[in-house]
Amino acid sequence: MNNHRWRKIKSALASVISFVSAVLVIAPLALIFFHLIRNGASSVNWAFFTELPKPVGAAGGGMANAIVGSFELLGLASLIGIPIGVLGGVYLAEYGTTRGNWALRFIADVLNGVPSITWGVVVYGLAVLPFKGFSAFAGALALGLMMIPLIMRTTEEVVLLVPNGYREAALALGIARWKTIVHIVMKTASKGIITGILLALARVAGETAPLLFTAFGNRFWNHDPTQPIAAVPLQIFSYAISPYDDWHRQAWAGALVLLTTIFLINVAVRVVTRDRTARVI
């Protein structure tokens, strides 16, 4: 076989291999969704959304407290993550020095790479030990601290995208710098800022590790932030590693609901912004 032929075959082979690789990489996504639906869809019923977990061994019950718990945790976490993240991101985009900002960005990126369980360990020392108990507050703190570097970077990115012409036009009207930033720049970037927040929320909504020894989980209703609280990922975990079939079934249901929610947020964000660069973070 002459050299040219061989080269062409190699090229075709490479194309096939890379296509197969792409399929293999994407396959788990399809497989997971498939099994979630197969094993969990039938269990996603009214009881799932409204009932508390039943005692060990008893069939039935639901994840109502975990669902509400997750919302509460995310809500509290947002109080920490959103203001600090957004304003910090604004600083990086609008103020500061080249070198200083580079260092801050670097640190934020390093923080984004810290394993989520580390946050759990840190917040354990900060908010669980001193108060001698697990709490929703501790769980929210862990999630909120995780959100800060995430939101900071996304906010910075979108604010930097606002064309300079708008800043100039506003300043030329004699509008103070801070009002320019808040009322003109941030307002223009608001869609992007909200996108970043939603993606961060979708991300931490699925986190289990930081909650294992902060929020800890709870089989009952709890609206007291100083007490342990249930969360959907925690519930999925404890059900999955349990020996009870009925709990396994509910774990599948919980996973299906959780994954669907996260996917819906991601898809919605993508559609609304029509932004090909919107990355899942």
Partner: protein, 279 residues
């Protein structure tokens, strides 16, 4: 007195009654007195030793080849060049007798009295037409709705846009055509009632019809404002301006009545430029 109080005091000084409708009387004080102005961006000297008097209620055009510093010069008239880091200014600019660069002068107040319109029209994308017009007033503290509505109409009338948009004030500013957007930006600038309008190639991104409308507008606005316009289009300079300044490589080469400069330029470089020997 604090800086702010001084600045406010300057702002509130009763205006001299010099609003004639036919251009400045020859003995009225110039709007700008520029003396030995030099500007550096870092190490590069962008403007060298410029001295010029810009008259009130006139349209003064600034022409010259690209890179000659005309935009830079324009921007130091309302201290917008300061937004670029590492700039240095030497010399003096007096605006109606007050030192623009004295340490006590607040650039924000300067920019309220000296407005600017940019080359690329930039109505704020999240705001309606009406909101765009009054944004300068609202964000500077004016809340009275009746007054804001009055100013909106007044500004839009003076920008020759009122009839076209009066029923669509709530529509987004970006929904207008290019020429209309630029007139909206002019309305936005004059809504805060400055005394001067600086225009940096305001029509260069527009089609000929829109350009013509802007030029008509400029000639009308002259009655109430001092206008300084940077343009790379010499025909435009002859059409709209009373006086023209020719800049070259950061220096002011010639400054004269427009008709005289274009028909009998005194400097060879001026003549070379306007006859197209270089661009």
């Amino acid at each position: 007195m604090t800086t702010a109080q001084v600045a406010t005091e300057i702002q509130l000084r009763p205006g001299e009654d010099e609003r004639s409708s036919a251009g400045a009387a020859p003995d009225s004080k110039p709007a700008f007195e520029v003396r030995n102005l030099s500007i550096w961006y870092g190490q590069k000297e962008a403007i060298h030793d410029v001295t010029i008097d810009i008259p009130r209620h006139n349209v003064t055009a600034i022409i010259g080849p690209s890179g000659c510093g005309k935009s830079t010069f324009l921007r130091c008239l309302n201290r917008m060049h300061e937004l670029v880091p590492n700039t240095r200014v030497e010399g003096k600019i007096l605006f109606q007798g007050e030192d623009l660069y004295s340490p006590g002068t607040d650039p924000t107040i300067v920019r309220r009295r000296i407005g600017m319109v940019f080359q690329k029209s930039n109505p704020f994308p999240t705001m309606s037409i009406e909101e765009n017009v009054i944004v300068g007033l609202r964000l500077n503290g004016l809340r009275n709705r009746r007054l804001l509505a009055e100013r909106t109409e007044k500004a839009l009338r003076m920008s020759a846009l009122w009839d076209e948009v009066k029923n669509d004030l709530h529509k987004p500013g970006m929904s207008l055509s290019g020429g209309q957007q630029q007139r909206l930006c002019i309305a936005r600038a004059i809504a805060i009632e400055p005394e001067v309008l600086l225009m940096d190639e305001p029509a260069s991104a527009l089609d000929p019809i829109a350009t013509m409308k802007i030029e008509e507008l400029i000639r009308e606005l002259r009655k109430n404002y001092t206008i300084v316009i940077v343009t790379h289009n010499m025909q435009q300079a002859t059409r709209v301006s009373d006086k023209t300044a020719f800049f070259y490589v950061g220096q002011l080469i010639e400054f004269d009545e427009t008709t005289r400069l274009f028909s009998h330029p005194k400097e060879k470089r001026t003549e070379d430029y306007i006859t197209g020997r270089f661009g």
